[in-house]
């Protein structure tokens, strides 16, 4: 079996399309990934991120476009000829093989001689800290251990590209955090190029070198975690990045970079992110950045609910027109109290109605 190259400089997706009957799951992806990068494909369910991953792995044929490793075309190869490692959402461990056999499977398929195979499997077992579980069947392991076996099985063959399909979504919150660090550690120690599919923006922000936000089968924004977190280019990306409050308003003017937005009679300042044809615009604000002003400026709301969050309080307020606003408060508030909410201009993003 000829398996693909173990090294490359760039992976190019050139107009990669995928159609299922009448439904277009991917509308022409263009993306260049550098060797050694950790890329997160982020998006809500149904955005095409898993389809994209399966197309790269060769599990789904592309309907159009090309996938290139440097100048070598790979979208025409069968999955077993591409030599990419893949970690599946449900782990897909072979239930009839021991952990050791599972991890050694890829090496055996490549015809690696037995002594070397054993040595590399031992190294992979050590990398995911499962030396003591080597002779067990997958069914005897916990979810986190199974996930580590799946990762070891994918990386032991030293693939040029590791693909991960929501590998942590079946784990509980604590384990997810541990495995996240484990994945980051393994990536950094091996330097393998990784494409990681997730719908969890926290996971994407903490793991990735670059995040690709997908929506409806198309790329919405590509950027470093810091870029995406601070300055999402679209309202739906902002929504994904934790800008939970979205308030409709009317543009009344500009002051330098800042837009002045009239929200139910109150004018607030914000950063203009996407131009508007008319006057209508939307302000996006994270709950943590929206606080009671303590003065008579700010958007007036009636407090609906207050939750204790350890460091402070999380409040839900309703404006005169019925819009819900989530905000942070350093002190407790009574339900039904009237407060005014405001945020720093740099923390308010203003999006025009043209999405």
């Amino acid at each position: 079996m000829t398996v693909g190259p173990t090294t490359f400089k760039q992976l190019h997706l050139q107009g990669v399309r995928r159609e299922f009957d009448a439904f277009t799951a991917l509308k022409g992806l263009d993306l260049t990934i550098e060797r050694g990068e950790f890329i997160a494909l982020l998006g809500p369910s149904g955005c095409g991120k898993t389809t994209a991953l399966n197309c790269i792995a060769g599990l789904l044929p592309v309907s159009g476009g090309r996938i290139m490793l440097d100048d070598r075309r790979v979208d025409v190869l069968r999955p077993e000829e591409r030599g990419f490692g893949m970690v599946f959402q449900n782990y897909a461990l072979f239930p009839h093989m021991t952990v050791r056999k599972n991890i050694g499977f890829g090496l055996r398929m490549r015809g690696v001689p037995k002594p070397e195979l054993e040595k590399r499997v031992d190294a992979a077992l050590a990398a995911v800290r499962l030396e003591s579980q080597a002779e067990k069947l997958p069914g005897q392991l916990s979810g986190g251990q199974q996930q580590r076996v799946a990762i070891a099985r994918a990386i032991v063959v030293e693939p040029p590209l590791v693909l991960m399909d929501e590998p942590l979504s079946n784990l509980d919150a604590k384990l997810r955090l541990e495995m996240r660090q484990e994945i980051r550690r393994i990536h950094q120690s091996l330097g393998s190029t990784t494409i990681y599919v997730t719908h969890d923006q926290e996971e994407a922000l903490s793991l990735a070198d670059r995040i690709v936000v997908l929506r409806d089968g198309a790329i919405r924004q590509v950027g470093t975690p810091a870029e995406l977190y601070a300055l999402p280019a679209h309202l739906d990306v902002a929504d994904f990045m934790g800008f939970r409050n979205r308030v409709n308003g009317e543009l009344v003017g500009m002051e330098g970079e800042d837009a002045l937005l009239n929200i139910e009679g109150t004018v607030i300042r914000g950063r203009m992110r996407a131009a508007s044809a008319g006057k209508a615009a939307v302000a996006a604000i994270r709950p943590d950045d929206l606080e009671p002003t303590g003065t008579d400026s700010g958007i007036p709301v009636r407090v609906e609910a207050v939750e204790y969050r350890g460091r402070g309080f999380h409040g839900v307020g309703v404006t005169a027109s019925g819009t819900e606003l989530h905000f942070a408060s350093p002190y407790p508030l009574q339900r039904g109290a009237a407060v005014r909410l405001g945020a720093e201009a740099g923390r308010v993003l203003v999006f025009g109605d043209a999405r």
């Binding site: 079996m1 398996v3 792995a57 060769g58 599990l59 069968r78 999955p79 077993e80 591409r82 030599g83 990419f84 490692g85 893949m86 599946f88 449900n90 782990y91 897909a92 461990l93 072979f94 239930p95 009839h96 499977f105 890829g106 398929m109 490549r110 069947l137 997958p138 069914g139 392991l141 916990s142 979810g143 251990q145 199974q146 099985r153 994918a154 063959v157 693909l163 079946n170």
Partner: protein, 300 residues
Amino acid sequence: MSAVLEGRAEGPTLRQRLAARGIDGATLLVLPCVALILGLFIYPFLYGLMLSFEPKDGSLFGNYARFFSDPFLYGTIFKTLRLAFPVTLLNLLIAIPIAFRVRLMRRQRLLTTLLVLPITLGTVLVAEGMLFYFGPQGWFNRALMAVGLLSTPISVLNGYWGVFISLVLTGFPFTFLLTLSYVTGIDPSLENAAATLGAGPAARFREVFLPLLIPGLAITFCLSFVQAYSVLPSAVLVGDPANATRVISIAAYQAAFEEYDYSMASAIAMIMGAVQLLVVVAVLGCRSLFYRGPAAGAKG
């Protein structure tokens, strides 16, 4: 001692302890089923077993001695095996590749319905159909003669191959549907995982599918085999019931309804059951050498 008793008294009630072992009110629902099994299976079986030890000559093992000393009688065991074994194996070997193809199809319902039909028709109707189809004036012979492959009609019927074909026709749907359910029970992501790890189609079948399928295929083999081994209508209708296809059920039928020796018929039925049991135990015994857990992705 008293401490132990006190501990008991403070512990869970009898009802709670029974429930912990899975015995509760709903357990009573199995009673009608138990009654049915007792009345329709266990009792007739034991009655037949007792009857087989009361032969006409008065000795305890007279029937069994007669069966195993008369080649015309004990030969039926092997004649039936000679039919049932290859038929079951062939059905299984045809069913596996087709099941692998069908598992990827989107409209399985229609195919499944088509395949269930022969089961509902039963062996008699299939044998009747074969009589016409393979007869001297049937389509089979006329077609072969028309294209010049034959000069005179050949007789497929009234012999081993007639029964063989009839058993394949009636047994295949059953074997196939069981096989399909086992094949589709394997998590498709296992195949994807094997492919991304560099396993080609042959290696994927050998390393992943086959080991996971073997337990199911063993069960399928047993059920199909037992069905084929108890063949009667087609052995008479399209076979050679006096010689080549004198299967064991014919021997039992003749003992019961031609010689009116119910005791002998019971003994033959017991022998038939014992042969089936031997084969089933042997096959299932081999099965225990393989992995038998869930064939899914083993999620914790």
